[in-house]
């Protein structure tokens, strides 16, 4: 390992600009002649629009334009799309209601987009937005995930009878039924996966500029995937042809999934800047983020496990109702289907699995991927159920896991739910976590806590997830509209420094450092001479962006492949310059040398020769600049065991996490410092879901948790420091041996926390978030 190569905790190259206040986020960018957009949003969850009178707003000071859905439709812009098809048990594709970027005759959730006011200043636009007079005919609202499809509920969309988007069964129902009938024991659990608001700290924003001379639109966006934005806005929303649309994602202040999707505001800003022929800027305030960012999770499930007399899992059966909100977000259908049901095997060799997911529409904000996306929901369900199984069988939670783990010699392991796990040593991670958490010493600690009137609990969660998204052929077979390969270009400049263009896009993950380490390691170029460039469709080749912990596992491999091409070409150039046969040229540590001699030239000299090819090998193109694409053959499957220990005050319900231990298998680590940071953040996200965060609509469809005053984000004093370790295996399908680490914590943590709290209270179950009030009530009910 070199000081700046693979495996080194290199300090991040991107930090300096952020520390100096010189980051450049979308809202930091201002252009000459810029106007400001403010959206008129629906105050009602469900209503017909009888009329919109914008005359007063139009004549208010500073107002440039007031635009509505009629204007948008007249220009043929939109509607917004959902990119993944799920075929339900009726043999039909999922029901896809019209999703206009500005309402056409009807609004379907509080915060739905009714009109946009564009003015010289934000203040003027806000003032004028209040003058837009919308006459609504209010309809009853549907908000309950569990009840949305029940008879007698208000219909939201004509195309979706009973508010059902799809009912999607998967697995052999009869075989599972038979296994349940002959089982020694059946354990079951009703549980809710609470709705979350993703809440990256930077609110969404868009800045659109139109050049009437070139007919080009430039959109600066808070995006995790600029090319995907450009593709969808262009091919499906008719904003502009791809070559006349530039999408730039500058510094992005966190995403966690919420900035993958193509949103109404982005399309409207892009359209409006051409319509009024002036730059238009929109920045969400936090309330708008709560109202109109895609939300996450929101499942209601029944989980059942059939076991033999030894606690071996025979069959798993899951019935889930998943709330998709009022409209389908860009990948809304995929999350509770493929990203959920295909992970229900978890770490266990359960031979039979049947799941049925009913996805429903409600008068709430659209629901889509949020850190983990489907996998936290699957893991929470399974890892809670496993603890219920352990209790029912009188087994220690660690023991029942061991009895059911997929054994190390079974990899690659074909699960009964499509996925074929690459590598894993689940016992190793569990053993290490048990040691790290001092599981053996828990009883004594619980006893000591009891003497102080407190109750201690310990909880295990052994998760597996699918990252490295995704093999394009698999995506196609599942009804996805895109390929999920990744691209890279590695370019030497004549003076020997390197620019790395990646189709992924960092929003906090430190790609500028990790990818530079990869290149430093492969090409032997000093890390300070390597610059990673991303996030601008005018600068980088087409790429699919960053989500699903894919950037290193897919994008990193593309970079490595481009480096290999440079080395192969460099050998030809060096052979000519060193007057040797190409086969005798070796490359190591940035130097091409003739085997067995002291003749050598640096890769920088080779690059210079390639750009100044005065004496150059015949038939070799000038230039030192290579492209590569990588389409993975399989997902990667990070896994691990997390153990949480809590101390509950039964008098107040206040729960403190006293120790949190995580042991993960991410394959090979490129930058351990960055990986550990990702684990910390993921755990905090998961603890937030388990103990603090709950997104609530009242029965009228009003979002009653629409600010940081009402929605509890994890804060520093809610969390402990974390103990993090690794139990890596070598995934055979990934050329770099990496798996992905960005979502693991958010997946592993919620069941670890709830299992611990349930253990402390001696109750069968408590739903998330386990707030002091909920814990206090549960403690009272147990007493």
């Amino acid at each position: 390992m070199t000081e700046f190569g693979i495996g080194a905790s290199v300090k991040r190259k991107e930090d300096r600009r952020f520390l100096l206040g010189k980051g450049r986020y979308t809202d930091d960018i201002n252009v000459a002649g810029q106007t400001h957009a403010v959206f008129v949003r629906s105050p009602h969850a469900h209503a017909a629009i009888k009329s919109i009178d914008s005359s007063q707003a139009e004549s208010a000071p500073g107002v440039v334009a007031v635009l509505t859905g009629e204007d948008l439709a007249a220009d043929g812009i939109g509607p917004l799309i959902c990119g993944v098809t799920v075929t339900g048990d009726d043999g039909e594709p999922h029901k896809a209601p019209l999703h206009p970027a500005l309402a056409q005759g009807k609004v379907n959730y509080v915060g739905d987009h009714v009109a946009v006011v564009i003015a010289e200043t934000v203040g003027q636009a806000r003032d004028a937005a209040e003058l837009v007079d919308v006459d609504y005919d209010v309809l009853p609202a549907v908000t309950s995930t569990a009840e949305a499809a029940e008879s007698g509920q208000q219909q939201i969309h004509e195309v979706a009878p009973n508010n059902v988007c799809f009912n999607w069964p998967f697995g052999d129902k009869e075989a599972v039924q038979a296994a349940f009938e002959s089982a020694h024991k059946v354990s079951s659990l009703d549980l809710v996966n609470n709705r979350m608001v993703t809440n990256p700290m930077e609110p969404r924003a868009a800045l659109g500029e139109f050049n009437s001379g070139t007919d080009e639109i430039t959109l600066h966006l808070t995006t995790q995937n600029p090319h995907v934005h450009r593709l969808v806005l262009s091919a499906f929303n008719q904003l502009a042809p791809e070559h006349k649309l530039r999408v730039v994602g500058p510094d992005v202040g966190g995403g966690f999934g919420a900035k993958i999707f193509v949103y109404a505001e982005e399309l409207v800003v892009g359209w409006a800047c051409r319509k009024i022929n002036r730059p238009v800027k929109w920045t969400a305030d936090r309330t708008e983020a709560f109202l109109a960012d895609a939300h996450g999770r929101d499942h209601v499930s029944l989980a059942e496990m059939a076991m033999d007399e030894n606690g071996k899992f025979l069959a798993l059966r899951v019935h889930t109702k998943a709330n998709l909100g009022a409209y389908l977000s860009t990948f809304g259908t995929m999350v509770p289907s493929y990203l959920y049901a295909f992970l229900l095997a978890g770490q266990y060799a359960t031979p039979l699995i049947y799941s049925e997911v009913k996805a429903v529409f409600t008068n709430t904000a659209p629901v889509d991927a949020s850190r983990g996306a489907g996998r936290p929901e699957a893991t929470y369900l399974l890892e809670r159920l496993v603890d219920i199984c352990a209790a029912d069988m009188g087994l220690d939670p660690a023991e029942i896991r061991r009895r059911n783990f997929i054994p190390i010699d079974a990899f690659p392991y074909q699960t009964p739910v499509v996925q074929c796990y690459d590598s894993g040593d689940y016992n190793a991670a569990l053993d290490k976590a048990i040691e790290l958490a001092d599981y053996a010493g828990f009883a004594a600690r619980a006893e000591e806590a009891k003497s102080r009137g407190k109750r201690r609990g310990i909880g295990i969660s052994s998760y597996v997830e699918a990252c490295g998204i995704a093999p394009s052929a698999a995506v196609g077979q599942l009804g996805g509209g895109v390929g999920l390969w990744e691209s890279a270009q590695v370019r030497f400049n004549p003076t020997g420094n390197v620019q790395v263009f990646t189709g992924t896009h960092s929003h906090g993950q430190g790609h500028e450092t990790t990818f530079a380490q990869l290149v430093c390691d492969q090409l032997g170029v000093p890390i300070e001479n390597i610059e990673v460039i991303h996030g601008d469709t005018a600068k980088t080749q087409f790429g699919m962006g960053t989500y699903g912990s894919r950037s290193l596992a897919v994008g990193g491999v593309a970079i490595a492949k481009a480096c290999e091409k440079l080395i192969a070409k460099g050998k030809k150039i060096a052979a000519h310059a060193l007057e040797a046969a190409e086969g005798d040229i070796e490359f190591a540590d940035g130097s091409f040398s003739v085997a067995g001699t002291d003749k050598a030239m640096s890769i920088g000299e080779v690059a210079f020769n390639a750009y100044v090819p005065h004496s150059y090998p015949e038939g070799v193109e000038p230039g030192f600049d290579e492209n590569a694409f990588f389409d993975p053959t399989n997902f990667s499957f990070p896994a691990g065991t997390h153990i949480c220990e809590v101390e509950v005050d039964p008098d107040t319900g206040v729960t403190e996490i006293v120790k949190y231990s995580a042991v993960d298998d991410f394959g090979r680590l490129i930058n351990p410092m960055i990986v550990e940071g990702q684990v910390h953040g993921g755990i905090a996200h998961g603890v937030g879901q388990a103990m603090l965060e709950g997104c609530h609509y009242d029965s009228d469809g009003q979002l009653i948790t629409a600010s940081f005053m009402d929605y509890a984000m994890p804060r520093a004093d809610n969390l402990p420091s974390f103990d993090v370790d690794y139990a890596p295996t070598d995934p055979p399908d990934n050329p770099l041996g990496v798996k992905g680490c960005g979502e693991a914590g958010a997946i592993g943590a919620p069941p670890a926390v709830i299992n611990a709290i349930v253990n402390a209270l001696g109750v069968r179950h408590i739903d998330m978030p386990a707030t002091p009030e909920n814990v206090w009530r549960a403690a009272r009910s147990a007493a």
Binding site: R12, G21, G253, G254, R286, G508, I674, R715, A716, L719
Partner: protein, 162 residues
């Protein structure tokens, strides 16, 4: 009415500045939009997240919760005012050394709050104190683990014991 402009004059990062603002203009808007100091961020509208923390007359304040006119005549320091030339302030350096930032959006507010914590609590800070004091700054990326370490290390370094 909102259109009535008011003149404000103050010192920002040691430089005298003045400008015309509306009565409703927030200090954070004045800094970002009129002075172009975009290092101070806006992460919420309810004074909760702390992305906008700056120092006014030596104390940390949330710049989204002060009107620009309230800062008239005061001395304001923002994240842009900490480094000495090319050299990072010890607290900034501690955040880099301890991986105390990921997306960077909350970072300026975290650092300005951290300096205020040191000013009030000294250079030897225990973990519990730092966690309690950071309650008004939200980070979604780091889980706070490394921010806490950064603040402790930065505090030490400011005392000359790095």
């Amino acid at each position: 009415m909102a259109n009535n402009k008011i003149n404000v004059s103050l010192s920002v990062n040691g430089k005298a500045v003045s400008g015309e603002v509306e009565s409703r203009t927030l200090l954070v808007q004045f800094l970002r939009e009129q002075l172009g100091l975009t290092g101070t961020h806006i992460g919420c509208d309810t004074s909760q997240c702390g992305a906008c923390v700056v120092h006014m007359d030596g104390k940390s304040v949330k710049a989204c919760t002060l009107l620009a006119v309230q800062a008239d005549g005061s001395e304001v320091t923002t994240i842009e005012g900490l480094a000495q030339g090319a050299e990072l302030h010890p607290m900034q350096q501690a955040f880099m050394d301890n991986h105390g930032l990921q997306c960077g959006f909350c970072t300026p507010g975290m650092i300005m709050t951290a300096l205020d914590i040191v000013n009030r609590n000294g250079n030897e800070l225990d973990e519990a104190t730092v966690r309690k004091e950071l309650e008004g700054n939200i980070c979604r990326c780091t889980g706070y683990h490394n921010i806490v370490k950064s603040v402790q290390a930065g505090a030490k370094a400011m005392g000359g014991n790095s």
